[in-house]
């Protein structure tokens, strides 16, 4: 197991949002976390990434407990987080954003390679290389955020709702890129509301409702599950 | 003087609650009333310390009225004190009117500047408002320095005293009355619908506006009242000390008031009183016993302010509220266990 989350409880202030959430993700897997709005999916991601210290439970990444580790340290040990809000540096150009994504790499050649790689993945970014991130369109921002998250050579990425507010073609572009990355060996935990598409792309999925994991299993099984069909697919 | 809202009041405590007092608060006032009559507090220098405490307490109340509730830190607060003081002193000096009357003119003058500042700074928020009031304060102090034909500048303006007697005791009761007046007037304001509006504006101006609270009116009213009392307290300061220099308007004086207001706790008018007396007393004690180390009391001020902000941003009032809410919770838990 690359990432192990055991009995995670987390929330904001006195308010608890997650109740004993447990997840297991192996190396090279493409796992989805699905649930309705407000279920606490982003909270799970924030807790794993280190932005939000959990109230209890353990999070183990690559054999190490990372419960109270700062997000920056996690990033250095190979866990990259692409948040829902994207957290881009809006006053910097695309290139500078990507440079910042790779700033922790000692090897500058590696950084160059990564740059070429993400430009291959999202050619649109290369065309706008010196445009400010604040002036990009929604789809381009998502691409930039994903690209920035990949610049540090992560072993695993946490991606939060990359399809939110995107046109269907752009969503496909992003999903295809994720699938490509997964095939090259990257472990992915993807949060999505777009259930049909997500279950098609991912290998396994967890379903989170009101802060609790209610279902888990291979995506192909979940897509035929009654509960999922009724609530998420509307059939 | 705690304002608790969720208890049903009967008899005396209900009556007291109507005027923003609690039995404990009343006890505190009685205590302050008799304090200067018992040794060792009946010595004149002790009474003067008590007066300093009461001045700062009153100032902290009217400071917190706009800083705590409306979220507008009047960083030029001392200048309003000074404006009230100078107006009152100059009027009583030139026209020969009793200072008991002129201090109200001083207060009105400060309130007028308060209205102007309130209206002019309406569009400003947060740091902008702080800077604006600060600059007004610096400018006023500069004017008092330069217009020495009127204020005698740094030489100091003589002010007629309130009382003929040499004892400080009458002065103490006067400032105690001013302090109570400030507390009751502003406390009643807070208890009324105005208080709700102030809080709403302080927390979120946009939300308050969309829910129909018109900030213009409330901001101006709040600022005017706060400045009125600043002027009144400044007037007392002038006639009590008998001499007035532009130093009174220095930012440092604002800071003294601000420290007490924040140690007392935001959003609690009474917190200022609770914090002021012990704190000023301790400061004066320190200053007189460590007179070979000038400024040590101010250093302690600074350290206190930083420590409070880092470790206990709610101040004394928050501590008390925590205590009472914990008590209530414990009581509830006991009742629950009894019910089981």
């Amino acid at each position: 197991m690359l990432l192990k989350v055991k009995n995670l409880n987390a929330g904001y202030g006195f308010l608890n949002v997650l109740w004993d959430v447990s997840l297991n993700i192996g190396k090279g897997e493409f796992v989805a976390l699905i649930g309705p709005n407000g279920a606490g999916k982003s909270t799970v991601m924030k807790s794993i990434s280190g932005l939000l210290p959990p109230k209890s439970g353990t999070i183990t990444f690559d054999g190490q407990v990372i419960n109270n580790q700062d997000c920056a340290v996690n990033c250095r040990s190979g866990l990259s987080y692409i948040s829902e809000e994207l957290n881009l540096f809006t006053g910097m150009t695309i290139l500078e954003n990507l440079e910042m994504g790779a700033q922790m790499l000692e090897d500058k050649n590696k950084a160059r390679e990564n740059l070429d790689f993400v430009f291959e993945l999202f050619p649109r970014l290369e065309e706008r290389i010196s445009q400010y991130a604040g002036t990009l369109s929604g789809g381009e921002r998502k691409m930039l955020a994903i690209a920035r998250g990949l610049m540090s050579n992560p072993t695993m990425v946490l991606v939060d709702e990359p399809s939110l507010g995107l046109a269907p073609q752009v969503t496909d572009e992003v999903f295809n890129a994720l699938r490509l990355l997964n095939r090259q060996g990257l472990t992915i935990l993807l949060v999505e509301q777009n259930v049909t598409k997500t279950l098609k792309f991912s290998s396994r999925a967890y379903i989170l409702e009101k802060g609790k994991v209610v279902l888990e299993g291979p995506s192909s099984e979940l897509i035929t599950n009654d509960h999922v069909r009724k609530i998420y697919l509307g059939t | 003087m705690t304002q608790s809202t969720n208890e049903n009041h009967t008899g005396l405590s209900g009556l007291l609650n109507k005027i923003c007092l609690s039995p404990l608060g009343l006890l505190g006032i009685v205590f302050l009333f008799f304090l200067p009559l018992v040794p060792p507090f009946n010595q004149d220098y002790m009474i003067r310390w008590l007066i300093s405490g009461a001045i700062v307490a009153a100032a902290a109340i009217s400071f917190d009225f706009s800083a705590g509730y409306l979220g507008i830190v009047n960083f030029g607060y001392a200048a309003f004190l000074g404006l009230g003081g100078y107006t009152s002193a100059i009027l009583s000096n030139t026209l020969g009117i009793s200072p008991f009357i002129t201090i109200f003119f001083g207060a009105l003058m400060a309130a007028t500047l308060g209205v102007l500042t309130g209206i002019v700074s309406l569009r400003l928020r947060g740091m902008f408002a702080i800077c604006f009031t600060w600059f007004i304060g610096i400018a006023l102090m500069g004017l008092c320095m330069k217009w020495d034909w009127l204020t005698r500048g740094p030489l100091g303006l003589q002010c007629t005293p309130f009382f003929e007697s040499n004892s400080s005791l009458p002065n103490y009761y006067l400032i105690l009355a001013i302090m109570l007046l400030t507390y009751l007037a502003l406390g009643l304001m807070i208890k009324s619908n105005y208080g709700l509006a102030f809080r709403a504006i302080g927390q979120n101006m946009e939300a308050a506006m969309t829910s129909g609270v018109h900030p213009t009116k409330y901001r101006v009213i709040n600022f005017t009242l706060s400045c009125f009392f600043a002027g009144l307290i400044g007037g007392f300061y002038a006639h009590y000390y008998g001499i007035l220099t532009p130093e009174l308007m220095h930012t440092q004086k604002t800071v003294e008031v601000l420290v007490i207001a924040y140690i007392g706790g935001r959003l609690s008018l009474w917190g200022g009183i609770v914090a002021a007396f012990p704190f000023i007393f301790a400061m004066e004690l320190l200053r007189s016993s460590l007179s070979d180390l000038p400024g040590i009391n101010l250093i302690i001020y600074g350290v206190f302010l930083i420590a409070i902000m880092v470790y206990y941003p709610g101040g004394v009032a928050f501590f008390f509220k925590n205590l009472t809410s914990r008590k209530i919770r414990r009581k509830e838990m006991q009742q629950a266990s009894i019910a089981q």
Binding site: S83, F89, G101, Q103 | M127, G142, V303, I306, M309, P313
Partner: protein, 342 residues
């Protein structure tokens, strides 16, 4: 292409920023013709340093959302350190003249002052603001504002307690004849101080635009969580920012020792000035601080020349208040981050 550029230039001239800059230059020229070029010299010498102070305040706000009302005290720390380096050396030089040491003394003083500022800045961050960051982010802006006030009181009174309430200054830096520019004599000290300010500003600009450190600082300023997500050690960047800002303030204090002898409240005027500048050019506008510094310096020199000592804090105050009311985002109309208004 050329045409559109000239149209833009005309547009800018018609904006409030352009009008103010043009007026400033005209006033500067008029006053130097009327009262002699020394007005201009004083403006240039102090303006550059006020700009450095304002850059520091702007930086601290932009990166950490701290409105530093203790910035003048780092100026004071700088001037105090410079005095305690330069004064003993100058005493020693009186007895044993040594031309190399005489040359190097002011350099040592100013460098020492900067170093002291850097150290003080790092300590401030580690001892106070890092603690606050760990504990409580609620009401950050107001808490920090109050903390800096506390800090200012502490530093001023510590100075008074330890070093006394006296003026500690040196008359000049280098005992060399003044430079003659036409029939105007300008002391070498002033020229050097002006160039120090310009160099420091240039250094800052290069640092922020082209080095990785500068980019990291900008990244943290733009999105703290984003910076953590790409592995930037945010706490270290914060300390660096503090070191930079306070180092600049102390550099200004050390460089201006011959004009502003060190005493406990020497930092108040520079503090006022840096806040004037920030209001004038708009909160968080680091680039605007440079013209702003010269404008404020000119304005003060002019008020002092025509109205006398003491007015230089009154008249600008009214002007700045007017700017706050009519142009709350400064004459250059920079887009302000909404945090200022919380």
């Amino acid at each position: 292409m050329n045409n559109s550029r000239s149209i833009k230039a005309v547009e800018w001239l018609k904006s409030s920023g352009g009008i103010t800059v043009t007026c400033t230059i005209l006033v500067a020229l008029a006053v130097s013709i009327h009262k002699g070029p020394y007005v201009l010299v004083n403006t240039l010498v102090t303006g550059g340093m006020w700009a450095l102070m304002a850059i520091g305040v702007s930086l601290l706000f932009g990166v950490m959302n701290i409105s530093n009302f203790a910035h003048g005290e780092y100026f004071m720390i700088g001037s105090l350190t410079a005095y305690y380096i330069m004064h003993p050396l100058k005493e020693y030089l009186l007895e044993t003249p040594n031309s190399f040491l005489a040359f190097i003394t002011p350099v040592l003083g100013i460098a020492g002052a900067t170093l002291a500022g850097v150290i003080a800045g790092i300590l401030t961050d580690k001892l106070i603001f890092a603690q606050l960051r760990k504990r409580n982010r609620e009401g950050w802006l107001l808490n920090c504002f109050l903390i800096t006030i506390g800090l200012s009181i502490i530093l001023i009174n510590l100075h008074m307690l330890i070093f006394g309430n006296t003026f500690k200054g040196v008359v000049n830096y280098w005992d060399v004849p003044s430079l003659a520019l036409g029939d105007v004599y300008v002391s070498v000290d002033r020229v050097v101080v002006f160039f120090i300010a310009m160099l420091a500003i240039l250094f800052f600009w290069y640092l922020m635009m082209y080095t990785t450190l500068g980019k990291k600082i900008r990244a943290v300023a733009q999105d703290e969580n984003g910076a953590r997500m790409v592995g930037i050690p945010v706490n270290r960047v914060y300390s660096t920012t503090f070191a930079l800002a306070c180092g600049f303030a102390a550099l200004a204090g050390g460089s201006l020792l011959f004009m502003f002898p060190s005493y406990p409240t020497v930092g108040i005027a520079p503090l006022y000035n840096s806040w004037f500048i920030i209001i004038l050019v708009g909160f968080g506008n680091v680039a605007g601080a440079v013209p702003g510094g010269f404008m404020i310096a000119l304005f003060q020199v002019v008020t002092r020349t025509y109205m006398g000592e003491g007015w230089e804090n009154v008249i600008p105050m009214f002007l700045i208040s007017a700017i706050l009311i009519f142009k709350p985002y400064g004459i250059f109309e920079t887009k302000v981050r909404s945090v200022w208004e919380q």
